[in-house]
Amino acid sequence: MNEVDSQQIQKLYIAYFGRPADPNGINYWLAYAKKGFDLKNIALEFSNQDEYLKFVIVNREIDYQINQLYLNLFGRKVDFQGLQYWLSYLRKDKYNISDMVFDLILLLTKKSKNNFGVTGKDLKVFENKLHAADLFTQELSLSLVWVDLYIPESTDPWLEGNALTSGINFLNKINIDHKVTLEDVRISLGKISLIPIETKNQPVIKMKNISLTIPIYPSENKNFSSLITKGMFKHVTGGKLRNLNRKTIIEALSNVNLTVMNGERIALIGHNGSGKTSFLKLISGIYKPTNGSLKIDVNVYPMLQKTFLTSTELSGFDAAKAHYLLMNNCLDGFDIFMKDIIQFSGLGAFITLPIKTYSEGMCARLIFSILTSIRHECLAIDEGFGTGDAAFFEKAEKRMQSFIDSAGTLFLASHSEQLLRQFCTRGIVFSQGFIVYDGVLDAALNYYHTHDYSQLNVVK
């Protein structure tokens, strides 16, 4: 089985689509390879992609497909002898266009003894194209704005759109003499239209080299924590533990660099103790960063745990009123707010009884109803924020959907893929306090499951 790396995926993008790969695409295919698929299988999958079937070949004859592959790879049409050569193969049973691509890629990786009529000049052109495509993808991965922009106009039906066409035009210009520079890449990226993310061009959170350390104060753990920080025990969860000036600290977040646009729906993915909740608390203003610069231009509302502002000796009504006063500073409209809470939570007359008499599910119903009754600019939700029993769950799900829809920006930390897919489009993967992946949700989830991202990969 051939080991698949990001450069081989890049070659497939060039061969099939004639454009540089997007970082999320590379991650997607690397994750796919991790499931046990080799390069030959992936080449076959590429030939079944909508971008290839509905944009590149569009039911055209096989000789057109061969020509297109040559144009994409070598910047020239296939010569007569070459065409005959490939046609003779393709007329055989069990040999199709993906096998041809696979064979060509092996040749270009210099692993094939047969040259298939490919000349030294062709190889040079291809090297230039591959170099240009790598530069393009690397530059693209440095900005989430570009990553968001470099997408098709539509996937169903497939419409290539301005952004991907810019990528095609960029590679089309590459020839034997044209060794592309970073400046050329930036000019091409600049041509990508901003229209698709019109509403996502206003940064609301900017983080630069943010780190967060959590000091451990209890002195009774002094001896034990020193053992831990000396490495006597290995931990698979949580941030790094270390000793600083005789104090034990946890490095909850390290070197976090991030820009979040208004309206983004972000999933926070990672193991327990990877830094998701610390991140939520940081953007909510509960924690302050230890180092780095943090600029937040939006009111982030945390929904982390089921806690009330008032004593549990008091009624649900009192808890709702205290919350309403805190949010609005007055009681205008409180009656409507209260009616909504009573109706939605289903607590009825229980609303006048002390909270301590409620079951856990009733508490969950009440707090969920209170917190989702008011619109917020930006939400930071932790998965621990439950919704009570199954009967309430369906109601809560609908309410949550409209609540989130009405919010500008969303951060959702959860281990439930279903939940993340329902609400989010961008995924950030945390590991031991570091952001190890940031991109489209599918790719982020794939990354999380595979952890396959070596130094060879494109996103840096």
């Binding site: 909510s284 509960i286 509302y301 805190l326």
Partner: protein, 259 residues
Amino acid sequence: MLLNNIRFAFKTRRAWWYTATSRTRARFARTTLGSFWLGFSNLLSILTLGLVYGTVFKVENLRSYFVYLGIGLILWNSISSSISNAPYLFSHNSSNIRNMNLNPLFYTFEEWAFQVQTFFQSFILVFFVLSLIEKTILFNFIFNSWIPLLNFIIFIYWFPVLICLISVRFTDVAQLIPIVLQLVFLTSPILYKKESLGDISWITNFNFIYKILDPLRLSIIDGYVYYSQTLILLFMNLIGLLFSFWLLKIESKKLPFLV
């Protein structure tokens, strides 16, 4: 900083005042007399202590001793309650501090409102009973006690906040507080007159809780206010207030990790 904090206090005033009121209601939720107990329990203490110590100290004018003891005790109880509750202020709100992005000032204002509400609820009943004994105290209170009362109310905000911030860092302080308060009570002229201390009456000069309590008691009982001393006290109180705000701002960064 002062202005920002006052702005925050004003903006959220209804919420913290309401949660403070709720705490009082929660405290007496199962009782028949409700918050009436606040004044009633104080009256019982005054009556008992007045009879016992009036006899022990061979007080000649028991009526004026009751007024002296009653006013002193009610002021002391409020100060003492504010200080003894202080070490646990943030730990009682730890879940909210760790999960809500609410300025910690909110909890300090709520606690202060709770103490102020408790003070006035007990003070009104005690004062009403004492004014039946000594009618002039009503007149004195209305016309002379404003600045000493202001000093008292500011003090029961900033000093407990300071204790609270120290206790959250040095947890042993919480254990010391009841002992120190007991010593301060016994060395303060509340059960007895200052003159009874004789040669050691100078110790009251270093007793800053007494320095807050005495001018207010004096203004109510005798209708006398040492304005220069009271204004210096007000100035010191404002410095204390600013210092507590500053310290809270510094410590609030670490607060979620400390509680």
